[in-house]
Symmetry: C2
Subunit: 326 residues, 2 copies
Amino acid sequence: MRLRRYASSLLILIFVIAFGLPALAADPLPSWNDGPAKRAVMDFVTRTTLEGGPDFIPVPERIATFDNDGTLWAEKPLYAQLFFALDRVRQLAPDHPEWKTQEPFASLLKGDMKGVEKGGMKALLEVVMATHAGMTTDEFEALVREWIATARHPQTKMLFTGMVYQPMLELLDYMRANGFKTFIVSGGGIEFMRPWTEKVYGVPPEQVVGSSIKTKFELRDGKPAILREAQLDFIDDKEGKPVGINLHIGRRPVAAFGNSDGDLQMLQYATAGQGARFALLVHHTDGQREFAYDKGAEKALAAAAQAGWTVVDMKKDWKTIYPAAK
Amino acid sequence: MRLRRYASSLLILIFVIAFGLPALAADPLPSWNDGPAKRAVMDFVTRTTLEGGPDFIPVPERIATFDNDGTLWAEKPLYAQLFFALDRVRQLAPDHPEWKTQEPFASLLKGDMKGVEKGGMKALLEVVMATHAGMTTDEFEALVREWIATARHPQTKMLFTGMVYQPMLELLDYMRANGFKTFIVSGGGIEFMRPWTEKVYGVPPEQVVGSSIKTKFELRDGKPAILREAQLDFIDDKEGKPVGINLHIGRRPVAAFGNSDGDLQMLQYATAGQGARFALLVHHTDGQREFAYDKGAEKALAAAAQAGWTVVDMKKDWKTIYPAAK
């Protein structure tokens, strides 16, 4: 009798090891405090992956899109890509004496970002074209790789890639472990992100959608190359996000994650599809551990309140903000 | 002794079943005759997937790009998409009495393709805009789905999706089974292909690159939609193919498959990368079972001869052309 009980315990143990581990697995989102945001996202994933359930989504349709700046990593006081442009301007300045008096470069070189902002979109584009164009894609990739490996945030002195959100890294992993294909859909430059998103987020280049400048194929000394031209191609922001998603993915996402008005249309587009849908906004409420701001997110937050989208209160919902330093 | 031999045979059998099956597996390319083309592609896959070997390619970099028209399915006497456009013109003609006299529609409605061709690219674009724009992406997808399910080739009377090349279907499967990510990179319309490439080729929408018209996000009666506009966005042909690859994939392919001069730059771009590379041209030599032609492939064939790219002689290399009817 005792032996039989022992044998059946052993059998149960074998079954648990063989099939039961996922059920007993550790919390997939350990950096999230228990609360409505964590529960909402886990509930969505559980419902949509339950075969035979009313909300089941077949694997190929499990498309999840994530904004980058402010959603996956910090965006204050400026987008990291602008620090990259600033460093490039400083680096190129010796060859451009005219920049000392020519706006927006003059302000930029003095570190006067307010002065740059005065020039608006036009000034910003000038800076991008002067620093991001006129080279091959291979050359630009090398520049980005070099910069991202060493560049540090002016206030925290951390690597920019150290200022990604640990809870969002866990969320990306969790969704992928459940058959979701994760895409980045960002207003940032597509070729600025691709050199490092695979290593940092586990998102390969072909799953990155972003803004772009025109490129041109040519044979350089008989060798094929793609040249980056000083001409805007596409802005992947606001109304541009659903357009970029349609062009690059060709499927409406079932889940979308953002933090600002630039993500509003992406969240509207994702949630307007049929079947189970999920939208989440990261609300920057933590001035202590990160940056606290609503500016530029007013419309998105209002839409979230109205539509019942999930809103992450960074201060309350996230145990940690950045990954532990390696 | 006999028992021991029996036991060890049994053990070997168990090992073969458990671990040895891949080695004993059936030919992955049964519709290919043994010959230099089949041997070249299998040699490339074997070398590049051999861990620790000199030509090993890590899985994320195993990007393979395939042209569609003439490479994965038949393109004669016209691209299937033109038959789609033709059917759309006929369908829309009652609402466009002016088409009876207005070129290129007048020629098209009379079935005079030579007359349409006289108008060149401009005429073709007019037909595309009249038939492919002015609706939402969801509406266009529905039109394509309906057409592709029933439309038949005027000569063979087969479904267009029945005129895909069986040897290439096997090749797509074979490469995917070896960790290659397969993309379509075609001059055809990106949204014309996406509704059926997953079912027919196993290539999901997000791995399809093609030509496109501009689209625009808007709220229609409060519902988000993407509208197709009568304006060209991008032509994914010739020099456009590496540009499209760079924009959509962001990685240089290690293997590229085409059949015409429209694919030349893609094959040049793929093979110019470092490490093991593979390029293949499908040469249409079989007037009996398919269509025999070199026109429009002269430059590509010359480049293949010079660079030593693999050329498939359809008549010699392929046992069958189309899949057995289901």
